[in-house]
Symmetry: C2
Subunit: 235 residues, 2 copies
């Protein structure tokens, strides 16, 4: 039972992208080049590229080629408006707690699998600011056995997802989210510099990844007064 040919090409190119061999905006080799390097037909190459397109890794342009794209934008995840991809924006991230071993917190909203509960947990939390204004508190928990020597590695471009992709070849393949409007508790009001009881957007997320034993559980608390949370998707 050997692996399918298109899947081989797909995984090869994906790994190249993940490792940063191609930057965002770079062109992949042309279909005919890929045909000859892999000794397969264009039909099969195109199937591989179709899959990568569907997964959001590349974008294809008639007459020009396939370019590597910023995958985050294709995921339809919720984001603080003008965050992450914001160019020239004055965005900063403060680590409240760096990555460290911890217990699986009861604060986690989604159900944690038995397998995960039996394994060590890594936790870290950050405060996201625009200018001097704190807008989001972010708590993250995940299975520690999947991330060897995690705490030592610097975040790639400050992005946890990019770090996962480039260093561990783990990709987000899905998510579940729940959103609530709540009154700010003492801790979060303090950190977000808002009065106690202010309306806060609480988002619980479970990210599913390409490793079925590795999910990311996040609890986010957002001050949406000046920076609303948003997303968009297109077919």
């Amino acid at each position: 039972m050997k692996e399918k040919r298109y899947k081989q090409v797909q995984d090869f190119l994906k790994l190249q992208i993940q490792k940063g061999y191609y930057d965002v905006g770079d062109y992949l080799p042309s279909e005919n080049e890929l045909c000859s390097t892999f000794s397969i037909t264009r039909t099969t190459v195109r199937k591989a590229l179709d899959e990568l397109t569907r997964e959001g890794f590349i974008e294809r342009h008639h007459g020009k080629g396939s370019i590597v794209r910023e995958r985050r934008k294709s995921l339809g995840l919720l984001n603080v408006k003008g965050f992450s991809e914001a160019v020239g924006e004055d965005v900063s991230t403060i680590f409240l707690q760096g990555p460290h071993s911890d217990f699986w917190s009861p604060e986690i909203h989604f159900k944690i699998s038995e397998k995960e509960l039996s394994q060590p947990c890594i936790h870290f939390s950050r405060l996201r600011c625009v200018g001097e204004v704190p807008v989001m508190i972010e708590h993250n928990w995940m299975n520690g056995t999947c991330l060897k020597e995690f705490s030592d590695i610097d975040f790639v471009n400050g992005s946890f997802f990019k770090t996962l992709s480039q260093h561990y070849h783990i990709e987000i393949v899905g998510s579940e989210q729940e959103l609530r409007a709540e009154n700010a508790h003492k801790d979060s009001a303090d950190l977000l510099k808002v009065p106690l009881g202010s309306p806060i957007l609480h988002i619980s997320v479970k990210f599913h990844t390409s490793n079925s034993n590795f999910n990311i559980y996040s609890e986010l608390y957002c001050n949406t007064n000046n920076y609303p949370v948003g997303n968009s998707y297109y077919l």
Copy 2:
């Protein structure tokens, strides 16, 4: 300049589904049947089915066939948990204002195109309840010229999107959303039966459709105390 063959098949099948010729769970004709009815090769039929899969209209099963699916579930839209598709749940919808001609409201958060502003506006608003508990106020505005005799038509299964699809063949192709946690104003507090100033989840949505002159602008106000808003997506 004639239309592409796979696109013809794709649009034909899509129309059949939209018109309700196939129910959710029904099998489409097999690929070989489609080949002979359209006098095209399987490659082209499969391309058409690939597109319909990508758009969320069908699901394919190896060895069995392609079945029609509930498209809403593939869209990654935010939904009140246990709403819409909830089976056996005690969900009800009350029209606060039935579909009627109105002005484009300043309450609309997203920018309205010039074309739309120059044309008449249809507005309706609903209150969504679980049991006796109101959980969401929903205001909708849209271009009236695209919906002839709209107010007279009963909503298909109580769903506005299904009505659009089946009666007008208009499909949602994308959306932009912004979310904020706010204090309840007098009107919304009243309708949602919560104290004035309670935290409320305010969602502004612009739905893009297959008709570029027809967008749906919605402002939603949710009481998330008992029924959080959620979504999920998978690759």
